[in-house]
């Protein structure tokens, strides 16, 4: 009931509002049309302004580099996560063994793996450890034996693993206290069935901590295996046939090395192999057991890596945007003429950069998720979010904030007048030019001089000999003051190609000034004498 009342009220209010809107539209039809036209013009002009701002920005190659840098750092973060997720190592105490072990989830064809195994190096022992989906029945003369798993071992290892028993392709071994020595027919082939002490089979291991019998589950760190009388042991070749493969297959590989032999092992190839076939590899270096797998949880190392890559991308993004500052000021000086406010430009550029970084970051995240998986994408997301946050906050405050006053260094210069009594104006200028020509600290590059009865001038441009890219410009205007005295107006300015400090420029100015005035003073005194 309440719903019907609410809907009725909603419809009534809607109709009332609609009628009023139509009425007001009719009454001020002309005004509204003009307003709409103005609004359209306003919107179109704003769009053009925005386009010009952004177009001026996009054309800079430095922005392109910055935008490449973010995905690159995200990939770096993703790759390092993959590495830190897949390797764990622990100290297992001295074993004296240097060996490699690879376990695959499903049987893999030997021919498919052959090249990879050759690249790893060493002599590989190939095993099949297979648990049937449902048990099979081994029918003997007077009993049925349920079998849950099948193990295939290389014949050369049977002596060691099966307590001296020499295995061949036609032999099946069962770990039981009952004594069997009979012929059975299995999958159409005849095999001799031999019983063996179950303790020997249960104790046998193909690698450090890995039993010969296939592992069904783990109880803590202890592997749980099927009972040895429920597992058939044979050669790898026969086992492949018994589980229904036409060519030899394997599920486990062990490679033993001598001391130092593992140094030449291609770990990259092993990583690729376990990634491709969804496996696990273990490398035992005497006391250190390294486990490589495609699974895991994010670790401290992966987080450190994400933070470092976030730092790198933030620094580079900030530097590139700081380098864009002159361009931002140029855009602002142009747009400021048409009335654009500084905060307006700042907001516009920040939104633009934010959206651009977000789009690129999201696309990169999707690609990383597709290529490297969820854990790497998670780490890349940390890199991406930290970088975006730092960059957007700092560029908004520092780079795009055009209202910040820019300090421009002013060149050092001086102006002064000098009155010399009773001397010829042209001779003074002539002496000044000679002084400049013979100057030891400054090299004269350009000299213009003109002297007439009523006045004269001298313009000189000198280079500071002690350093590159620093010079002094001198302008001297002469005229006659009362009583025949000569008045000289000096205008000296120091310039530098590099951005030198004011004190440095002023010390050069003082040096030039003192050399000039000192030389003039000595000349005046010598003339008086």
């Amino acid at each position: 009931m309440l719903e019907i009342v609410m809907v009725s009220i909603y419809v009534a209010v809607l109709m009332f509002s609609a009628i009023h809107v139509v009425k007001s539209f009719r009454s001020s039809h002309h005004e509204l049309r003009e307003e709409i036209t103005e609004l359209r013009k306003d919107i179109s002009s704003r769009i053009i302004v925005t386009y010009k701002v952004i177009a001026g920005f996009i054309r800079s190659p430095i922005l392109l580099i910055a935008l490449f840098m973010l995905p690159a750092c995200m990939v770096l973060s993703a790759i390092s996560t993959q590495y830190s997720l897949s390797v764990t190592s622990r100290d297992v105490g001295s074993t004296g063994i240097y060996a490699l072990y690879i376990r695959f989830k499903t049987p893999i064809s030997v021919s498919e793996l052959e090249q990879n195994l050759n690249e790893i190096g060493g002599m590989a022992d190939l095993y099949v450890r297979y648990i049937f989906d449902s048990r099979i029945e081994l029918i003997l003369d007077d009993e049925k034996l349920p079998i849950y798993a099948l193990v295939g071992i290389p014949p050369n290892k049977s002596n060691k693993l099966l307590g001296g028993l020499q295995l061949n392709d036609r032999m099946l071994v069962l770990g039981t206290t009952k004594s069997y020595n009979l012929t059975v027919r299995l999958f159409g082939d005849e095999h001799s069935l031999v019983s063996l002490n179950p303790e020997i089979i249960e104790r046998a291991s193909i690698f450090y901590g890995t039993p010969l019998l296939p592992v069904e589950a783990y109880l803590g760190t202890k592997p749980v295996t099927p009972p040895s009388d429920k597992v058939i042991i044979t050669t790898t070749l026969t086992a492949s046939k018994l589980i229904g493969y036409l060519e030899p297959v394997i599920t486990d590989v062990t490679v033993e090395f001598g001391e130092g032999g593992l140094e030449g092992v291609n770990v990259t190839r092993i990583s690729e192999l376990i990634k491709r076939y969804n496996g696990v590899a273990m490398i035992l270096r005497n006391n250190v057991l390294e486990t490589l797998s495609g699974y895991g949880l994010p670790t401290t190392e992966s987080l450190i890596s994400a933070l470092i890559s976030a730092l790198i991308s933030s620094i580079i993004l900030l530097v590139t945007f700081i380098a864009l500052q002159p361009r931002v000021r140029l855009i602002y000086s142009r747009l400021g003429a048409v009335g654009l406010q500084p905060w307006n430009l700042t907001t516009m550029l920040t939104i633009f950069v934010g959206v651009l970084v977000l789009v690129i970051g999201t696309v990169s995240l999707a690609l990383i998720h597709h290529v490297f998986g969820i854990y790497s994408a998670l780490n890349s997301f940390i890199t991406f979010s930290i970088s975006t946050l730092i960059v957007v906050l700092l560029i908004n405050k520092k780079v795009f904030n055009v209202s910040i006053v820019e300090v421009v260094p002013t060149p050092a210069s001086t102006k002064f007048n000098l009155i010399i009594k009773g001397r010829d104006m042209c001779k003074i200028l002539q002496h000044l030019s000679e002084l400049l020509r013979g100057e030891e600290f400054f090299e004269l590059r350009d000299l213009d001089m003109r002297c007439e009865a009523s006045g004269g001038f001298l313009h000189a441009s000198c280079r500071f000999r002690a350093s590159w890219g620093i010079g002094v410009d001198l302008d001297v205007f002469t005229g006659l003051s009362g009583d025949g005295n000569v008045e000289l107006s000096f205008n000296i300015s120091v310039w530098s190609i590099e951005e030198l400090s004011t004190s440095q420029l002023e010390s050069i100015l003082r040096l030039f000034e003192s050399k000039l005035l000192g030389g003039l003073e000595v000349w005046v005194l010598s003339q008086a004498a």
Binding site: I65, S271, I308, I312, I316
Partner: protein, 141 residues
């Protein structure tokens, strides 16, 4: 035998700019990946980042480079001085940017990275000089 003035100017500009310092900091940070991450694709990624890093370092000092090119052009410097400047600045930044790649101790990829870095730096610096030269020539004529 004197040192080419262009080389000295390049060292001075790089020393006084911020690009080399940023480059050094990022190269040092990237060393973490070179030393601790043993992933087959890490070196390729480091090569790309190293090249971008060098390009950023050069671009972040672009004002100083522009000023030097203007000054060299106005003062009528020899083309060899300009080339010495470009090569010295490019090589210095390339070598600093190469640190994380070199740490992986793979000679061929290090040489590839060096050439990529050098090309990236030169492709930014030399066209800048050419642009300034063209601008000044058109201003005079």
């Amino acid at each position: 035998m004197g040192v080419e003035p262009g080389c000295l100017i390049a060292f001075k500009i790089l020393y006084r700019g911020k690009g080399v310092y940023i480059l050094s900091i990022i190269s040092t940070l990237l060393l973490y990946y070179s030393v601790f991450i043993k992933h087959p694709k890490i070196l390729d990624t480091l090569i790309i980042i190293s090249a971008l890093n060098v390009a950023t370092a050069i671009l972040s000092d672009s004002d100083s480079h522009n000023t030097v090119f203007y000054a060299l052009r106005i003062s009528g410097a020899k083309p060899s001085t300009v080339m010495a400047y470009v090569i010295t600045a490019s090589l210095t930044t390339s070598f600093i940017g190469l640190i994380p790649v070199v740490a992986k101790a793979e000679l061929i990829k290090s040489l590839i990275a060096l050439s990529i870095n050098f090309t990236a730096a030169t492709l930014i610096l030399y066209p800048t000089y050419l642009r300034i030269k063209k601008r000044l020539t058109s201003a005079v004529t």
